[in-house]
């Protein structure tokens, strides 16, 4: 008996004194979050490298005589000559439902002061996007709650839809509205107890933004109870470029967990212009050759490999991406905007002029498009809003011509009046997304001419009153529209009757 115990003890002793092999190097230079390291002869591309004091780096440049690493974390205590070790691991972040309702940094560490995150799994930050065979075409809707978008530029689960516009045109607001709308739908769906209901979890990745903006976003989500379905990955303007560079990939890894486990997720990258700038900074310090606008040659791949990770998988879930790009003076033909436009499945273009005219959301109907979303749009919306995009485009064209002459025929005048009413109808305040059934009801009223007798300037108030009427008095009808997702003759008759009832009681 004792011999057996001795044997086990010897084995333990052997194991506990076993030498651990490490591959090491020394910092040669360090600047702006990037270190050049001598040694590290066994390091792999994109491998995690351990710096003294717990800082982590990623090996990005493997050269003949040195290794270029970006450092994630505090670089203030690092100095020339410090020893660096390889870890044999790729950079990973915690994933799972435990992250919901939390604010994390680019490495998945909590930064909201709510204690540690009890996550059982980690996913590598850099992953190859799903292949062709694993994918399924986009045909399930993802409602933003914004009438102008859901009716004219519909988004489907697994789609990549770019939100593009100048600064201060409401890009982030559209993304936050969409997140809030998912939370609202989730709450209704979960409360309804439908076994087939698939909630959409949201991930908001803030890249290079002011901390105060992120605080405001968190507060807005918390105020409407949307934070419990949302994960916020924050790489603020105060974080070093390496953290800003890695944050969207971390967010994508977190989203992929939901997708791989049969759930649906939405990810917002706010914004990829700042991401490209952070990557340019790193690349210039790493002395990589620079190209147009001093961006490195692989800046297209930087975004294509990120956005390709958003997909709808066959037999699994989906990851919908809403990347945001900030333009300068409305120039969509700049380098980064054209790159991302070509990668995504459409774009929502926001115009400064429209925003300043008080048309909010300032969606430019002519320049916005959804390439795959129409197959995901529900039948009810198609029935009431199928011709809206054309009508609005016609209105804009006529409005431009009408500026030159005062004599207009009755038909043109009618078209202009109708267009002006549609524009007013699409105005929507921030952080108040509308359920799709309510959108369908209001668009039905517009289609049937219930807003025609109302002065164009009073359409917004009338629409708000109508929404209130439907929400408080026609709940059963709204539920029917939501569940059937199409307008049959019976529903149309009920809608007509409800609109007439509203009209009889409404005074402008």
């Amino acid at each position: 008996m004792s011999t057996v115990l001795d044997q086990i003890e010897q084995q333990i002793a052997k194991l506990s004194t076993k030498a651990v092999k490490k591959n090491t190097g020394n910092i040669r230079t360090i600047a702006d979050g990037v270190a050049k390291i001598d040694g590290l002869s066994d390091v792999m591309y994109n491998e995690m490298v351990a710096f003294p004091g717990g800082a982590i780096g990623i090996a990005l440049n493997l050269e003949e005589s040195e290794v270029g690493c970006v450092i994630l974390g505090d670089v203030s205590k690092l100095k020339e000559g410090d020893e660096v070790q390889t870890t044999g691991k790729l950079l990973s972040v915690p994933v799972g439902k435990a992250l919901l309702g939390r604010v994390v940094d680019a490495l998945g560490n909590p930064v909201d002061g709510k204690g540690p995150i009890d996550s059982k799994e980690t996913y590598p930050v850099e992953r190859i996007a799903p292949g062709i065979m694993a994918r399924k075409s986009v045909n399930q809707p993802l409602f933003t709650g914004i009438m102008a978008i859901d009716s004219m530029i519909p988004i489907g689960r697994g789609q990549r839809e770019l939100i593009i516009g100048d600064r201060g045109t409401g890009k982030t607001t559209i993304a936050i509205d969409t997140i809030i709308n998912q939370a609202k739908i989730n709450k209704v769906g979960i409360a309804g107890g439908d076994a087939k209901f698939r909630p959409v979890y949201s991930i908001y990745v803030a890249i290079g933004q002011k901390s105060s903006n992120i605080v405001r976003t968190v507060a807005a989500l918390e105020a409407v109870g949307a934070l419990e379905f949302t994960i916020i990955v924050a790489a603020t303007a105060a974080d070093n470029p390496a953290n800003q560079y890695i944050a969207p990939y971390s967010g994508a890894a977190i989203g992929e967990w939901f997708m791989e486990n049969g759930m649906d997720a939405l990810i917002v990258f706010d914004d990829l212009s700042k991401h490209a700038v952070a990557y340019r900074q790193i690349s210039l310090i790493l002395k990589r050759p620079s190209g147009r606008e001093a961006y490195p040659g692989d800046v297209f791949y930087l975004h294509s490999r990120l956005l390709e990770r958003a997909a709808r998988l066959d037999g699994k879930g989906s990851l919908t991406a809403l990347p945001i790009i900030e333009t300068l003076a409305g120039d969509v033909s700049a380098y980064i905007p054209t790159n991302v436009i070509s990668i995504t499945d459409g774009q929502i273009f926001l115009e400064t002029d429209l925003f300043n005219q008080g048309i909010r959301p300032a969606v430019s109907v002519g320049l916005s498009v959804s390439r795959v979303g129409s197959s995901a749009q529900i039948k009810a919306t198609k029935q009431v809003g199928g011709k809206l995009k054309g009508e609005l485009a016609q209105f804009r064209e006529l409005a431009a011509f009408a500026q030159f002459g005062s004599d207009l025929d009755a038909k043109t005048k009618g078209q202009l009046d109708r267009g002006a009413r549609i524009v007013e109808l699409f105005k929507q305040p921030a952080f108040s997304p509308s359920p799709i059934e309510l959108q369908v009801s209001v668009l039905f009223a517009m289609q049937k001419g219930f807003f025609d007798p109302i002065d164009a300037k009073k359409v917004v108030a009338a629409a708000a009153d109508m929404k209130n009427f439907f929400t408080t008095r026609k709940d059963a009808l709204l539920t029917e529209i939501r569940t059937k997702a199409a307008l049959d003759k019976d529903i149309e008759a009920k809608l007509q009757a409800a609109c007439e009832e509203w009209k009889s009681g409404y005074t402008a």
């Binding site: 030498a19 651990v20 092999k21 490490k22 090491t24 190097g25 040694g39 717990g54």
Partner: protein, 131 residues
């Protein structure tokens, strides 16, 4: 400046290749290289010699097992380490001992960039990182 550094690097690499015979740095060849650089002195010479020094130092480190130890290390142990490392890396490796009380107990063997840690200090460092 950048072009000069690149040129110096290239020349240093060529000189280094000339200094290696049968996979090991030859003292005679190194002396020959130094004589050549001295004879053909240019404004780049310092840069070339610095780059050359680094390449030779890296190569020499691969042929040396530096054994840091806290306490005594017997000569047979050093020989055993040298033999084991020579077998592992497939080239002749010489073991040299260096006392390092900071290890507290145990040894640390360094061959080129590879470090084999079997010291109390190393285990404590790993423990503090994992906590």
């Amino acid at each position: 400046m950048a072009a000069a550094a690149k040129q110096a690097q290239q020349l240093a690499r060529q000189l280094f290749k000339l200094s290696v015979v049968d996979g090991a740095v030859s003292a005679d060849r190194v002396a020959g290289v130094l004589a050549y650089v001295e004879k053909h002195a240019s404004s780049n010479s310092v840069l070339v010699l610095k780059a050359y020094h680094r390449l030779v130092a890296v190569e020499l480190a691969k042929s040396e097992a530096r054994v840091e130890h806290a306490g005594m290390v017997a000569a047979p142990a050093l020989t055993a380490i040298a033999e084991a490392m020579s077998k592992k890396y497939g080239r002749a490796i010489v073991a040299t001992a260096r006392p390092n009380p900071a290890l507290l107990a145990g040894i640390r063997v360094r061959v080129g960039d590879d470090v084999y840690e079997s010291s109390v200090a190393g285990q404590l460092a790993a423990l503090s990182l994992s906590v």
